[in-house]
Amino acid sequence: MAAHLKKRVYEEFTKVVQQQQEEIATKKLRLTKPSKSAALHIDLCKATSPADALQYLLQFARKPVEAESVEGVVRILLEHYYKENDPSVRLKIASLLGLLSKTAGFSPDCIMDDAINILQNEKSHQVLAQLLDTLLAIGTKLPENQAIQSRLVDVACKHLTDTSHGVRNKCLQLLGNLGSLEKSVTKDAEGLTARDVQKIIGDYFSDQDPRVRTAAIKAMLQLHERGLKLHQAIYNQACKLLADDYEQVRSAAVQLIWVISQLYPESIVPIPSSNEEIRLVDDAFGKICHMVSDGSWVVRVQAAKLLGSMEQVSSHFLEQTLDKKLMSDLRRKRTAHERAKELYSSGEFSSGRKWGDDAPKEEIDTGAVNLIESGACGAFVHGLEDEMYEVRIAAVEALCMLAQSSPSFAEKCLDFLVDMFNDEIEEVRLQSIHTMRKISNNITLREDQLDTVLAVLEDSSRDIREALHELLCCTNVSTKEGIHLALVELLKNLSKYPTDRDSIWKCLKYLGSRHPTLVLPLVPELLSIHPFFDTAEPDMDDPAYIAVLVLIFNAAKTCPTMPALFSDHTFRHYAYLRDSLSHLVPALRLPGRKLVSSSVSPNITPHEDPSQQFLQQSLERVYSLQHLDPQGAQELLEFTIRDLQRLGELQSELAGVADFSATYLRCQLLLIKALQEKLWNVAAPLYLKQSDLASAAAKQIMEETYKMEFMYSGVENKQVVIIHHMRLQAKALQLIVTARTTRGVDPLFEMCEKFLQEVDFFQRCFIADLPHLQDSFVDKLLDLMPRLMTSKPAEVVKILQTMLRQSTFLHLPLPEQIHKASATIIEPAGESDNPLRFTSGLVVALDVDATLEHVQDPQSTVKVQVLYPDGQAQMIHPKPADFRNPGPGRYRLITQVYLSHTAWTEPCQVEVRLLLAYNSNARIPKSPWIEGGEGSPQVETSIEGTIPFSKPVKVYIMPKPARR
């Protein structure tokens, strides 16, 4: 048998070599590259010791193998496998076989027989495990082939009895990935061969090795993931595993129980030691709840997470999770939550606590107390109090998910969530605030709860405060005192942290519009209106006063009686705020006044169409341009650009499109202008100044095209082609200008070469789009490419020049959704007159806070630039963790920038701005050869250039000389 095999291997090997010889004959290029398999063969034959062979194999594994030569390589590897005595080399070969069979485009069924064969003769457990892994790779590569699958499953079953845990592990993995249930159904008639994979795997739930037990559960989960329906009988087996000694087993078992509970939620299981029966999902819920107080935190996190997704559980079980029967010396005690509620409902609000206020009440029957509940009792109470914050976060998340599906539970868990606002870890606090926001539709805050919530407003962390503002935006408050309390606390917050201004105003806007009737009785007090006396007019610039007005005006929108209470200056202030803060102050129907802004009121939608039309029309007008004379064209372009810019300002929805098209038109305008310069007609040296103009234009076009490519989100390939085309034209222009102004041929030669490379590159990248570029610059250029390649630089320049003049203006198709990236630096505000003093040579940290909009992948593209007065510029790469993502398309950058400089004589301003880094090479499709290789992905972090996209902010600094 072995001899026969060997012969076959040799046959195949020689065949492969022949094929290569044929190849060599036909394709000359391949001559330089020696065949992979042959080289490997030579290497392996040279190897004198196992260590040598291992080295060769390791080296070989670093390079990828093309799909065509995989088979040859496999044959050679197998041949060496048979000869090899050293298990480590065999192990490596086995692993290489697995890797190779994963190669795209290679069908591994041909090596399966060999793999199974060598498996049968192998003695080393490690190699066996590796071989099974290889078979797994083969099996997953061929999911359709039933015969192979069943054969592999047979192999796996045979090796399940191996003494090594590694082998058993792999067998179970194989079964999980390939075993199917259908077989036992379809082949039932044949009887003998029918096997139940689940039964086989289930037997290994009681293996002696915890790793094998884990693997068995994982395999079962894998079966589930592949769509097989697990038997309900497994539930009982899995429940036993919950008491396993090893955490990974318990953790996997929790998962399995969860899966089964989702599959059979309604089936009935008996409660041990009693005659009662409950739904399976409830039983599973109780069991998972119990695991929330497990000894290992990994299991606790797992359990807490899964609890959240068990929505079918009955409500009384759910509510038990928040219930922990308190007792003191065997007498029933009420929890602080219950006491607070009672105090509140009795009308007395949070009195000081007395000694013995929590004195226990009634006696408890000792028999009735159940200290370890098998049920869900207090699971969340434990989870939220856990030592590890990972568990607490998981518990909060689970609480959130359950509360979203059950309003009554939401009401109950409120107290606990509010408590979490005081957690010691900020992440947990933040998470619980977000959770609360998500369930806020289902709840109304009691006053004492609101009190606790509002106390967090003084938190020094900005994230927490802003999250809380967002929470307040969508909470329901029950009383007018609540609203008053909220307002007072928000104003306190405002005076303590003035930077929160915008967020607080926004919060009050929603608070007002949600609770108009509660605000109404507060109006006289808030505006300090006196029935008889006119009170002093408050300062209009006071942010706190504006905050109050925002609350009132938004409430007045749906409460028509309110404006009657306003005094004269309030109306004046309304008019002012309506203009200056129109996004916060709604239009009101004021008695005796015209509706100030009825025209801009809600229905803007019909207005959209005309402006869209206008945009389309003006663009079409421009695209018919080539027929006009240059002078007219220029004027038309100029007007259209002006129109578009104005349109962008007026219609924020169209700003992106308008800006984008305007930029493109500007490029074209610059190109036309440059081409009309007189310098083209005169001898070059005389018109140096003019050529300056043209080269400046070329430069500007380049910049604009980079902006177009990288500053807008939603740019599609169609547009990218046009942009690149424009850039190519700019490069051509640059070449021409340089040709006319420089003497000597050598530099020109290089430039020409480079330009032609660019053209070639353009052609390669956008080959699919070339048909759309009929009659364009590049179209013509490519026609003449063979001629250009051979001609001299001077000639090339001449051709280019004529072509530039002849080329038509390409139509820029508008993308569906386009937004311009923008950034606003909130901090530093740049208003301070006090310089930031620090000792020269040391650093000072400057807090930078900015909002970014429509930036793609800001973590890698957004940089901070600091410009010193001496012209020195410094670029800072913010950490990925400095970016927060508060909403789709929006980012928040909060980072610290370190400044340093040598000593100055007097304070001076540095400029801080945000840059968008780009790298146009990133668009080049990678060659498949590199993709196929494992590891060593080339890190393409290089920055080609940057675009400033925020207004610079000036910061006053003063580096002092160090004192000796």
């Binding site: 029967k325 308190l326 606590r353 939220l384 030592e387 303590k496």
Partner: protein, 571 residues
């Protein structure tokens, strides 16, 4: 010996344990292999210098590193109060404390320490106070876990107690809160912070009487982080002395604290308080709000009482009692609502300030105790450190829930526990492999029958195959054969009978090797069956079945089978 504490309530000989219980007469060192101290509270370590220096003990004393560091400070403080203030004679001296501490061996968490050839101990984290540990004590396969005091819910500076599933023979657990299930500590913390915050916002002063170690640090951390979070500027003071030293050790033993402190310590050590400063006597008269931690905790003497007297008259101020107060102390009086206090010198102090009580205790409650028992899975549980009546309830619960026996001995009572120790037996590899090969699936964790010979030689047990045992002991093997006659009604010849027997057995015993020998006998494995005519009755054939002792199972099965008779021949 586990822990060496003292009784706080007595000032005479009863305050230290009576060590003659251990020895009757003779040196303690001969009776004790080692002493284990679970944590630094005086009721767990207070008698240590007395025990080692005055009674006399020279063996090792094991404790964790933080306990080793903080314990002498507390002992010294205690000695000062007893000797210098109360003027007691016959008390241990500073030098004795030092000498005693020289005998201490420090252990790390989860480090297995070999005390002597047999005894090994291992420490587990217990929460409660800094450096508190539970100890597993192991001799051979038998082990005891002693918990000391522990806390199953984490607090602001310490984590929760944790033990692996070590399945000790006995778990000795404290049961201070045997009948209590506590509320979430978050409410307590929130109330505490809210009260302090409100008072200082009003411009009032807050007095928090504490004992120097333990809860004081937790409350400091709580206030410190709150101040940090809320950006408050109101000063917090801590009365000096003992605490400063102790705080220093808290800073050093970061690994013993909770997750939050351990994680943030790279940026900042949480015990390096930013907002909490040392208190000076003169500060009490400063205007404006402040928060002061002052010792002692029950307002019975010292600085806390002084400050209390100064501030009691102002209703803006507040005193928060974070723990239990013994009857008779000022603390107890004001907590029970007394508003007029008689101080020494007949003067009357009117208390206008607000009085608050807030319990911050770090013992496991009933649920916590059950949780620990569940984690460790002991065979027996023994309750200590609690009141008999309450322990009785917990004992019932433990017996009911875990079905293990639970004891609660009174002082001086002895408990005897039956254990079933494992006896290790060496088995020869050959035998093991042979047996493994015979079994089908490796049925795990289930007892399995094995044939072999047990050799006991100088307290050393070995299991070997019988051949090897014979060889080793130089004995000849005896053959033990059973023979049995089975009468069959068969008129045919012997040979034919044998043939029928052969075909019958062949068809029934499929997986055994059945052979028909040329001499007319039939063999099944090594069992011989011969057919002979009955000497008197020719119609009856006698089957002679003979098997060795090793084949007893098959042999008896065969005879039973043959006794049922042969099936009727088809002919």
């Amino acid at each position: 010996m586990l822990d060496c504490g003292m009784h706080m309530g007595f000032n005479d000989d009863r305050r230290f344990p009576d060590f003659s219980y251990i020895t009757q007469n003779g040196r303690l060192t001969d009776f004790l292999d080692c002493v284990i101290i679970s944590h630094f509270h005086l009721d767990h370590c207070g008698a240590l210098p007395y025990f080692s220096e005055m009674v006399g003990y020279d063996g090792p004393i094991y404790m964790t590193h933080p306990t080793q560091a903080i314990c002498p400070i507390l002992l010294e403080d205690y000695r000062k109060i007893a000797v210098d203030k109360k003027g007691e004679a016959n008390f241990f001296t500073s030098q004795m404390i030092k000498d005693c501490m020289k005998k201490v061996v420090a252990v790390h968490l989860h480090q297995t320490v070999q005390v002597d050839d047999e005894l090994e101990i291992k420490a587990y984290y217990a929460g409660h106070v800094l450096g508190a540990a539970m100890f597993q004590i192991k001799v051979g396969s038998e082990s005891v876990v002693y918990t000391g005091d522990y806390n199953m819910t984490p607090d602001r500076h310490l984590g929760a107690a944790w033990i692996d599933r070590c399945r000790p023979n006995l778990l000795i657990t404290e049961s201070t809160y045997a009948t209590t299930i506590r509320d979430s500590k978050r409410c307590r913390e929130r109330d505490f912070l809210k009260k302090v915050h409100e008072t200082v916002e009003r411009g009032g002063k807050v007095l928090i009487p504490v004992f120097a170690l333990g809860r004081a640090q937790e409350l400091c951390i709580l206030l410190e982080t709150f101040w940090e979070r809320m950006n408050l500027k109101v000063p917090i003071y801590f009365s000096t002395g003992l605490t400063e030293k102790a705080n220093h050790y808290y800073k050093l033993f970061i690994t013993w604290t909770n997750q939050k402190i351990r994680k943030t310590f790279v940026q900042r050590n949480m015990f390096e308080f930013k907002h909490i400063k040392a208190f000076d006597r003169a500060f009490a008269d400063n205007p404006g709000p402040m928060v002061v931690f002052a010792t002692p905790g029950m307002l019975h003497a010292g600085q806390s009482l002084q400050i209390f007297r100064k501030w009691a008259g102002n209703e803006k101020n507040m005193v928060i009692m974070p723990g239990y107060c013994v009857q008779g102390t000022v603390g107890h009086k004001i907590l029970s609502g007394q508003r007029k206090l008689e101080m020494e010198g007949r003067q009357v102090l009117e208390v206008k300030m607000q009085v608050e009580y807030m319990s911050f205790s770090a013992h496991a409650d009933a649920k916590g105790i059950m949780q620990l028992v569940g984690q460790a899975e002991p065979e027996n549980v023994l309750l200590v450190h609690g009141e008999a009546k309450k322990m009785e309830f917990l004992r019932q619960k433990i017996e009911q829930e875990f079905r293990v026996s639970c004891y609660m001995p009174a002082n001086g009572e002895t408990v005897t526990l039956p254990t079933s120790p494992n006896i290790p037996v060496g088995i020869s590899l050959g035998l093991l492999k042979r047996e493994m090969a015979q079994g089908l699936l490796p049925e795990t964790k289930k007892p399995r029958l094995l044939h072999g010979t047990l050799i006991m030689k100088d307290s050393n047990l070995r299991l070997v195959s019988s051949e090897q045992a014979l060889k080793e002991l130089g004995l000849a093997e005896h053959q033990l054969r059973f023979t049995c006659r089975v009468h069959l009604q068969d008129t045919r010849k012997e040979q034919e009978t044998a043939l029928r027997v052969y075909s019958h057995l062949k068809s029934t015993l499929k997986d055994h090797c059945v052979q028909h020998l040329p001499d007319g006998s039939v063999t099944v494995e090594s069992i011989l069956i011969q057919a002979a005519a009955h000497s008197e009755d020719p119609g009856t054939k006698v089957l002679l079945v003979s098997w060795t002792y090793q084949d007893e199972e098959l042999g008896s099965f065969l005879t039973a089978l043959l006794k049922k008779g042969l099936p009727q021949a088809p002919s």
